[in-house]
Symmetry: C3
Subunit: 201 residues, 3 copies
């Protein structure tokens, strides 16, 4: 139950980030709601389609849809206020990232995938929605371009979760430290301005 509430909060925060991108690109209400929904749920849909769990849980379950679409509607109406507290949104986003990556990696591992593919699918769960958001908004995904540390903390927590599962640890035992690794590293990166390496030119 607690996990469901956390998950729905994560979906809403991701959806708000998607809606804000749409508002800034001057899209209409359809754009805001579609970008909010795919940002909130798209990563999980990608993972579920790739592991063959269809229809995806977050498409069948109306609560997930309402959390995502609700995040979009809130953004449509209250975007000036949300834009002003974007740093707060980014903090919650970091927690959502940790939650999604670990839940995604564990779900993939439970479906029989080895640690390396499970870790990749955990990362896909965490970053996939934002990548689809950026493609639909007509820009190169920001996690590829700005050097911001986002995907690397995501894959780190996913890898810890997938490895813990492989070693036979209880999912509940491994989930918290793995999610904390992702969220903590991401928060430190925001605070300290850490960036990902770029190719030498």
């Amino acid at each position: 139950m607690l996990l469901l509430i956390l998950d729905l909060c994560g979906v809403s925060v991701f959806a708000i980030s998607g809606g804000l991108v749409a508002v800034r690109r001057q899209l209409d209400i359809v754009g805001v709601l579609v970008l909010a929904t795919v940002t909130g749920l798209g990563g999980g849909w990608l993972r579920d389609v790739l592991i063959g769990v269809t229809p995806p849980a977050a498409l069948e379950d109306w609560r997930y849809l309402v959390a995502a679409i609700g995040g979009g509607l809130v953004t449509f109406w209250f975007h000036p206020a949300l834009g002003r507290i974007e740093r707060v949104v980014n903090v919650f986003d970091a927690f959502g990232l940790g939650l999604f990556c670990v839940a995604g990696a564990l779900k993939a591992a439970e479906h029989g995938l080895d640690p390396l593919p499970a870790a990749i699918l955990g990362m896909v769960t965490g970053i996939g929605g934002g990548v689809i958001r950026d493609v639909l908004a007509g820009r190169v995904p920001v996690i590829f371009t700005l050097g911001e540390l986002y995907a690397i903390p995501a894959v780190a927590g996913s890898a810890v979760a997938a490895t813990g599962f492989e070693l036979g640890l209880e999912p509940a035992t491994v989930a918290l430290p793995a999610a904390a690794l992702t969220a903590g590293w991401r928060l430190l990166a925001i605070r300290r301005g850490w960036t990902a390496p770029v190719p030498r030119s």
Copy 2:
């Protein structure tokens, strides 16, 4: 049989709209045929992959492929004439939209999805092909940007169809009014210049 013919006509009209985008973007024949095919069939493929009906019917059945590729070839050769009658193409496109949305929502409902996800998948069936077309053509999907009323009539008809199914009505009974709602609203929107709301700035 009538339904199949209507469906194939809808695919061809969508394919022509995809081909015209490709021609205007000065793509080569590969671009024209690929954009025509994904515009005509991509929405149904997305829906089928999400509900786990694989391979999608419109990929297995050669008649759908021929309708889509044929629409692309016709556009490649006769695009000046087709471009001149684009308003006629848009009228047929509205009927295709109604048909696709309702058929998509009913198919999702028949596979056990609740009304909300079924309505969303109906909309995905109707608009998904055009969204993929625009992403591949390097532009933000027009249904997000121009404020044109396209997705809202699509989701309205899908919701009527999904709700009717949930209430136990015969699919044949609910399909016609639901498709008429989508197509009629869309045609009125074209005629009257109705637009979707945009976020206040």
Copy 3:
């Protein structure tokens, strides 16, 4: 065993082409590795998701992931050298294209698809990774725009393989000539500067 090694080489070459696009677009290491991976493996993932073989073999099997990510890391570190030998990369890419198309078409045919859809899925296997790469890099897929002959040789070899399978020929018998058709035509097109037809304007 030989087939596996050839397949992994093809994945690595495709991954290098994806990594080079990322480097030229000044993406960071995340962009380089993601583009390398989707270019190397994305076509096969698309095919497997569409025919319902999930999780895709090239996601479950760590050797494919290592070949793709390894190609990306090599590009990240040694891109100046790789950029200088890009014509050599293009030659290997033509062989990879032939291999992927034929393997993809035969896999689709073995899963019961008719020759036309199987040929299309063979082409998707060969060109899908590059199309995803270009969309993620923010450009219209080059195979649609430059008039370069890439997709047409791809679909030709795929069609030969799918037709041969339909006629009951041994996969091993049909694979080599079909792959040679794709690779040879592609190499001749590079050498002679052949291009695909464009719509008259």
